[in-house]
């Protein structure tokens, strides 16, 4: 096998697929550099996988004579994560565009970066959606005129390097399609890094966004408008290498060497700093105020996601034996949703899974602080409250009679019960306010069941007081019937009763804690 690797050449990585990019597209340059670099990496072809999302750039895997997957828009990083966990020996590249990984796949990009899966992400940034014929993307600067922003985009753009740093990426670099030598170096470095490597490559879409990166590629301007980052070196740029970056407080500034400014005054690049602030500051050097940096912004070590996940899996198997997926499927609670409104939901009972010896440890920790006396009170049963007995009427009572009863007994609400004395409804002043007031209705002609709230929310005497307050404060129920286990009303809780109850709880002997 080792012999075979040594003899690989660029040609071995060229597939038989017809390349479908527009002539002149920057994607070709990236493909060429990848095919140039890989033979030098000492990796067997069958151990390489290129995984892409959707876009022009995402057609890349077809053109590589390796394993590859053209997957779902924005989800290449996710598919790649699964693949690495299943087979950590593979070398996996994620090929993605600015639309693919920063629009629809933004979330997936963030999480793969912070997890530090051992992948190489190559983001082809052409600041446009190429495949769909030229809509602005999250890296198109405000004002960009495209087919979907004919008057200029009004959206703040993303800085891909800043995003990657904020997402805790361990390797962050930038290159550009037309600087092929630089790109080759960066691709090699990314391949060598253990952990997620994030490489942004400025790529020219000569059809829909031609010249987006010309400031960084045209010979006459690029030396003054870009800077190549070199680890351990002062940050110097310019055709005559006479300019540099100095840091003034938290702000970077461009200075000219000479006249009292020497190299030792300049910011020295250090890609290994644990604190990402330095790398972030460099990522904010943007055109045209500053020279735009190319090179490795950050390269630090952190534990690898799949190493840890796999180790945990091994440990679990050692402690508990190999699992049975089929048994797991059938061990959870499932139920059948019945047809028709009255049918009862059927819970399917399955054999219990053997209890785990890992999970109980977690459950034993009680995150709750000890309860205060007041908190405890909220768990006390409603029966400990001094509730008034409810006034009950039958469903056929006329509203006129009900109103008279409420008036003479000074009640805000009546409970409606059936012949067995079971709770059927609640009839309150609120119903009169909402459904009768201001309308010409003969109250002697209608019965309470036409106005009452049917099957009202009721609580049992054994339920906690906290739940009463839950219903009152979150749902605004002013009156809550309290019933016995059979459903017969035995009490009526109201705002007023709860106010009286709480008013009595507090002494005037107070302290803040």
């Amino acid at each position: 096998m080792a012999d075979a690797i040594e003899t690989l050449t660029r040609k071995d990585f060229v597939s038989d697929q017809e390349v479908r990019w527009c002539p002149g597209c920057g994607d070709y340059a990236i493909l060429a550099q990848m095919q140039r670099v890989l033979p030098e990496m000492g990796i067997a072809r069958e151990d390489m996988v290129f995984i892409s999302g959707i876009g022009c750039s995402s057609r890349f895997p077809y053109y590589m004579n390796t394993y590859g997957l053209h997957t779902i828009h924005g989800r290449a990083a996710t598919v790649a994560t699964g693949l690495k966990v299943a087979n950590p020996d593979l070398h996996v590249w994620v090929i993605t565009g600015d639309g693919d990984s920063l629009s629809i796949g933004g979330n997936h990009l963030l999480h793969v970066l912070r997890r530090n899966v051992d992948l190489n992400i190559i983001l082809f940034n052409n600041a446009i959606y190429g495949l769909t014929k030229g809509q602005y993307s999250p890296t198109s600067p405000p004002g960009t005129r495209t087919y979907s922003s004919p008057m200029g985009s009004v959206e703040q753009d993303f800085n891909a390097i800043s995003v990657a740093l904020a997402a805790e990426a361990t390797f962050v670099a930038r290159s550009v399609d037309r600087n092929t030598k630089h790109m080759a170096e960066i691709l090699k470095r990314a391949t060598e890094h253990r952990g997620t490597s994030f490489v942004e490559i400025y790529q020219n879409c000569n059809i829909y966004n031609d010249g987006a990166w010309f400031f960084a590629t045209e010979a006459d301007v690029k030396d003054d408008q870009t800077v190549i980052l070199e680890h351990g070196q002062p940050i110097i740029f310019g055709k005559d290498r006479d300019k540099g970056i100095r840091v003034n407080g938290l702000a970077p500034e461009v200075v000219t060497l000479g006249n009292g400014v020497s190299e030792s005054d300049l910011l020295t690049h250090d890609e290994t700093l644990d604190n990402p602030a330095h790398a972030y500051l460099l990522s904010r050097l943007t055109h045209p105020e500053y020279p735009v940096p190319f090179g490795v912004f950050r390269c630090v070590e952190r534990p690898i996601y799949e190493d840890q996940i796999i180790a945990q899996g091994r440990q679990a198997v050692e402690e508990r034996g190999a699992g049975d997926l089929n048994a797991l499927y059938h061990a959870t609670d499932t139920w059948i949703v019945p047809e028709g409104p009255d049918a009862e939901t059927v819970q399917e009972v399955h054999e219990e899974l053997p209890t785990s010896n890992i999970i109980p440890d977690i459950e034993q920790e009680d995150p709750m602080a000890p309860r205060t006396a007041l908190q405890q009170l909220l768990y006390d049963p409603i029966s400990s409250l001094d509730l008034p007995a409810p006034e009950c009427v039958s469903a056929e009572t006329s509203v006129a009679d009900a109103v008279e009863t409420m008036r003479s007994k000074n009640l805000g609400c009546l409970l409606v019960v059936d012949k067995q004395g079971l709770l059927r409804g609640i009839f309150a002043q609120g119903d009169l306010f909402e459904k009768v007031a201001g309308r010409d209705i003969d109250l002697t002609k209608i019965t309470v069941d036409s106005l009452m709230t049917k099957d009202p929310t009721a609580l049992k005497t054994s339920d906690p007081i906290g739940h009463l307050l839950h219903l009152m404060s979150l749902h605004g129920f002013r009156h809550i019937p309290i019933v016995d286990p059979d459903g017969r009303p035995v009490g009526l809780a109201s705002f007023k009763v709860m106010l009286k109850f709480t008013g009595g709880l507090f002494s005037d002997d107070i302290s803040p804690n």
Binding site: Q375, Y379, R407, G466, H467, H470, G476, F495, L499
Partner: protein, 155 residues
């Protein structure tokens, strides 16, 4: 910060006093009721040239209007409760709770030192204020008390 301390230090201004509408003394009763229904407020404060002169609530509707259609076109002034009790804005919440739980009033207008109306204190607003102190015990509950999981599903 415990609730007892808060109730003794916060004043009625610290709870939601917005559960009311303002009407003018010559507004007819049916218009006042419509305004209350539209805004789902069960309390109307009756004003005369910017001064509070009366109060009219859903309780009054149930007791004095619902089966007496002849009052519907009268000005609200004739049926309101005149000169309602008010609370000063610097009343502590514990004072307000004790005051309101001793009296039949469900709605108490709150006024400043110049008797300008700042809002109306309601039973609901006080209960909400107190519940806010116990999110775990009151808010983070399952829909019904017996919905508690027998085993933890998440985390």
């Amino acid at each position: 910060m415990n609730l007892n301390y808060s109730l003794h230090n916060d004043t009625v201004k610290h709870v939601d006093l917005s559960f009311y509408v303002e009407v003018q003394k010559d507004n007819p009763v049916d218009q006042v009721i419509a305004k209350m229904q539209d805004s789902q407020r069960k309390c109307a404060l009756v004003m005369d040239q910017g001064k509070l002169i009366g109060i009219f609530t859903a309780h009054d509707i149930a007791r004095r209007v619902i089966d007496q259609s002849e009052v519907i076109n009268e000005p609200i002034e004739t049926i309101m409760t005149p000169d309602p009790l008010t609370l000063q804005s610097d009343t502590t919440l514990i004072e307000a709770i004790r005051f309101m739980s001793d009296k039949p009033h469900r709605y108490m207008p709150v006024v400043d030192a110049d008797r300008r109306v700042l809002g109306t204190l309601t039973h609901y607003a006080i209960i909400k204020y107190m519940s806010d102190h116990f999110p775990e015990e009151i808010y983070n509950l399952p829909p019904t008390p017996d919905h508690f999981a027998s085993a933890r599903a998440g985390a």
